[in-house]
Symmetry: C2
Subunit: 420 residues, 2 copies
C-alpha cells in the first residue's frame, strides 16, 4: 500500500504525500512571503517547520533556506539538500509518525488551508529561456508561417532551438493578462497596422526550474544535467501572433511574447516525477556527442487546456496533450544551453516550447488548433479563432499512478482589454 | 570658463566635473561594493559622502541609496533624485567650494585613486535587451547572411527590431572571454560541425541603463521615455558567427551571443550627455504615432575599437564610428519595448545593436570589416579574419567639447581558449 499522510488527501487530489511540490505563499496583504509544500488541501508552512527545528538532517539543520521570501537559496543547495528535505517532510507528514501529527501547536501554525493563502512567484527568475522542442509544433508553425515546403528548419533535428524570453513579465497563475497592442504586417502599400492584438493565443508549455547551475565558461555535461533541475511547472507562454509574425525576422520573437508568461504556483520536484519516467523518442539523426545521453528520459504527464469565456459557468476542454510528446529532453535542453559556457543561475526558468502531439485534439495553441484562424473552434455554442477579452485559459497537468496522482494543479489567466 | 574641480583633471581626461559618471567599486577582495563617481583619476566614494551627511538635498538627505552594493535603488528614484545628486556632487567637487576641498578627513576617506579600486557591475540587471538600430549594420549583415536582394527586412524601417539577450553573462570590462564551443552549419550531408567557434567577433555597441521603468500593462510614452534612461555605457556584444548562423532561424540569436557581453564600468548620465545632443536622422517612412517624437535626439559620441594581439605592446585601431550613426533613437527603442505592456525595471540594459557607419572604417564588427572573413584585416603585420586566442578588444567612447570631454573610459576583454 502506498504511503499515506495524516492530512486528509482525496483520491483524485494532485497533492498526495508522494508529490509535495514547493511554492511560496503569503497569508494576506503586507504579510511575509514564505516557502511551503502542498499536501491535500493544505499548505505546509516550511518557515514554521524550520523554526520548530523539525528539519533535523545534517544539511538543513542549521540552514535558513526556508526563512527566505523565495526558494532561490534552497534551489542553490542542490540535490542532496532537496533529497533530505523530501525525506524529512514525507516522514513528518506520514500517518504513522507522531511528531507533527500529535503536536497540535505546531500543526495549527504550520498547516494552512489552501483557500487562505495567496500564492506568489516561487523564485526570483534571473533569466527565462524558451525552447521549441515539440516536432509537431515546429512542423505546424513552420507550415503556417513559411509554407509546406520544408516547414521544419534544417537545424531543428540537430539542436534544441531556443530563444531568450523576458524574465520581468513572468507571472504567477491567476494574474490577468492585458491584451497587448502592437504593430501587425502591412497589407499592400499601407503602413503596418497598429492596435490591440487580434490574434491573442496561449501556448501549452512546461518549464524546468534550475538548481545550482554553472560558472560562466564551464558547460554542464548532459549526463549530469538532471542534478541541476529542481522541478517542473506548467507554463502559458501567451503569444500575440499578429505582432510576432511581423516582428520576428530576423532576430526572433520579442513583443509578441514579452507582455506576459504565466507559471503554475507549485514546482513539482524532479524526484516526485521519477515514477512517471518513460523512454524519450528515438532521435534520428543521432545527436552530437555532447547531446547523447546514457539514459534519455521523458515523463508521462497528461496535460489539458480549458477555455472559460466571460460570463459562462463552464469551461470547455480544447486540448489534451502529454509532456512525452517532446522530442528533446529537459537534460538535453540544459546541456545545450550551457555548451557555449553560458551560466545558469538558481531560479532560472527553461520553458519546453509548446507541447503539441500528433493528434488534432493534442495541439498546444490556437494557432495550430484553428490553423491561424481559418478553422474556428466550437466552444459550447461559441466560436473562437483566437482569445477574446474575458476568456480565461486554464491549464492542468497530472501524472496518473495506480494508487495516487502527482499533479501540478492549475495555471490560469484571464484576458483583460488593452488600455485606451 | 568651464566649471573646474579642485581635483586635478588633465585636459584629455574622460572624467571632468562636467561628466561625473556612476559606477560601483571595491577596494579589494572581500571588501564591500560601494557606489562612486569618477573625477579625473579618482573615484569619489559616495558611501562616504553619504555617511558624512553631504547629500543634503530634500530627496537624498535621508536616503540610503548610496549605502547599497549596487545602483538599483538610486536608479529607481528617477530623474529628480539624479538631478539633485548631480547638483550636489558638482558643487562639492568644484574648485570654489570649501566643504570637501578643505576637509582633509572626509577627502582622504572619499577620494580613492582609480588604480586602487576594482570596478564591478554597477547594477543588478533584471533583463537585457539588444536592438538592431544601425541601418548600415542591418544592411551589411543582411547581405552577408541572406544575399544582396532586399538585405534589410521589410519591418526594419517601421520598428526598432530587438531580441532578448542573456542577463547572467553580462560582464564588467576586463573579464576574460572564454571562446565558446558549439555547432556550426553542416557541409553537404555531413552532420553539423562542433568545436571552438572559428568566427569569434566583437560588436561595437552602447547600452542604456533604465531608471524607474513601468508597471506591466502600462506602456511608456515616447515623449516621456527620456525620464526612464539614467545613462549610457559602452557594450561589446561578443558574437560567435558560425554558431549564430546555424542556430538563428527561426527564433533568433541564442548561444552565438550568450557566452558573454561586456559593459564599461562607468555609466555616463543622460544629463551629462545633453550638451552633445544632435538631430536624429530623418526617418522615412515616418514612424507610427507611438514612435513619433516631438524632439528626436541623437548624441555625438566618437567611438573607437582597438585590437591588441597576444604578446604585442601596441594595439591597433580597427574601427572609428559614432553613436549618431543610429537610425532609431534610445527613446524610440524604449517606447517600442513597452508598447505591448512589457515592464522595464530599474537596472535593465537596452543595447543599441552594432553601431556601424557608412564608411568602410566605421563598421562595428569583424563580420562587416572582413566581410565574413573574405577580406582579412591587417594589424601591424598580422592579419585577422576573426578574433584569435589572446586578442584583447578595447572600445573607447568620448564626446569632445570645446573645453572638456565627456568620456566613457574603456570597455575591454581578452579571448582565452575554450576548455578541452
Amino acid at each position: 500500500m502506498a504511503l499515506q499522510s495524516f492530512v486528509e488527501v482525496k483520491p483524485d487530489s494532485h497533492f498526495p504525500i508522494q508529490n509535495l511540490p514547493y511554492g511560496v505563499f503569503k497569508l494576506g496583504p503586507g504579510l511575509p512571503a514564505r516557502p511551503g509544500v502542498a499536501i491535500g488541501e493544505y499548505v505546509l508552512d516550511l518557515s514554521e517547520i524550520s523554526k520548530a527545528g523539525l528539519f533535523d538532517g545534517p544539511i538543513l539543520k542549521n540552514s535558513d533556506c526556508f526563512l527566505q521570501p523565495n526558494l532561490n537559496k534552497f534551489l542553490a543547495m542542490g540535490r542532496p539538500a532537496w533529497k533530505e528535505a523530501r525525506a524529512t517532510l514525507q516522514k513528518l507528514l506520514s500517518a504513522t509518525e507522531a511528531t507533527l501529527r500529535d503536536n497540535e501547536n505546531i500543526r495549527q501554525k504550520s498547516l494552512v488551508p489552501m483557500g487562505k493563502v495567496e500564492m506568489l512567484l516561487p523564485m526570483e527568475i534571473g533569466d527565462y529561456t524558451d525552447f521549441f522542442s515539440s516536432m509537431h509544433h515546429a512542423k505546424n508553425c513552420g507550415t503556417i508561417f513559411r509554407g509546406p515546403q520544408n516547414p521544419i528548419p534544417a537545424n531543428w533535428f540537430h539542436l534544441p532551438i531556443a530563444y531568450h524570453g523576458r524574465a520581468s513579465s513572468v507571472l504567477i497563475s491567476g494574474t490577468d493578462i492585458v491584451r497587448p497592442r502592437g504593430q501587425g504586417s502591412p497589407s499592400g502599400n499601407s503602413p503596418p497596422s497598429f492596435g490591440p492584438s487580434q490574434k491573442l493565443d496561449f501556448e501549452l508549455e512546461m518549464a524546468a526550474v534550475i538548481g545550482p547551475g554553472n560558472e560562466l565558461g564551464k558547460p554542464i555535461d548532459v549526463n549530469e544535467a538532471a542534478d541541476h533541475i529542481f522541478g517542473v511547472v506548467l507554463m502559458n507562454d501567451w503569444s500575440a501572433r499578429d505582432i510576432q509574425a511581423w516582428e520576428y525576422v530576423p532576430l526572433g520573437p520579442f513583443l509578441g511574447k514579452s507582455f506576459g508568461t504565466t507559471i503554475s504556483p507549485w514546482i513539482v520536484t524532479f524526484d516526485a516525477l521519477q515514477p512517471f519516467a518513460c523512454d524519450a523518442p528515438k532521435q534520428d539523426p543521432p545527436p552530437l556527442p555532447y547531446l547523447a545521453e546514457k539514459i534519455s528520459k521523458n515523463y508521462d504527464i497528461s496535460l489539458e487546456v480549458q477555455i472559460k469565456p466571460a460570463g459562462r459557468e463552464d469551461s470547455c476542454v480544447v486540448t489534451r496533450s502529454n509532456f512525452k510528446n517532446l522530442y528533446w529532453t529537459l537534460t538535453q535542453q540544459l546541456a545545450h544551453h550551457t555548451i557555449n559556457g553560458c551560466n545558469l543561475r538558481p531560479g532560472d526558468l527553461l520553458g519546453t516550447g509548446t507541447i503539441s502531439g500528433p493528434e488534432p485534439y493534442s495541439l498546444g495553441c490556437l494557432l495550430e488548433l484553428t490553423w491561424n484562424g481559418q478553422k474556428p473552434l466550437q466552444l459550447n455554442g461559441l466560436t473562437r479563432k483566437f482569445l477574446e477579452d474575458g476568456d480565461e485559459v486554464i491549464f492542468t497537468g497530472c501524472c496518473k499512478g495506480n494508487s495516487y496522482n502527482v499533479g501540478f494543479g492549475t495555471c490560469s489567466g484571464k484576458i483583460v482589454p488593452s488600455p485606451h
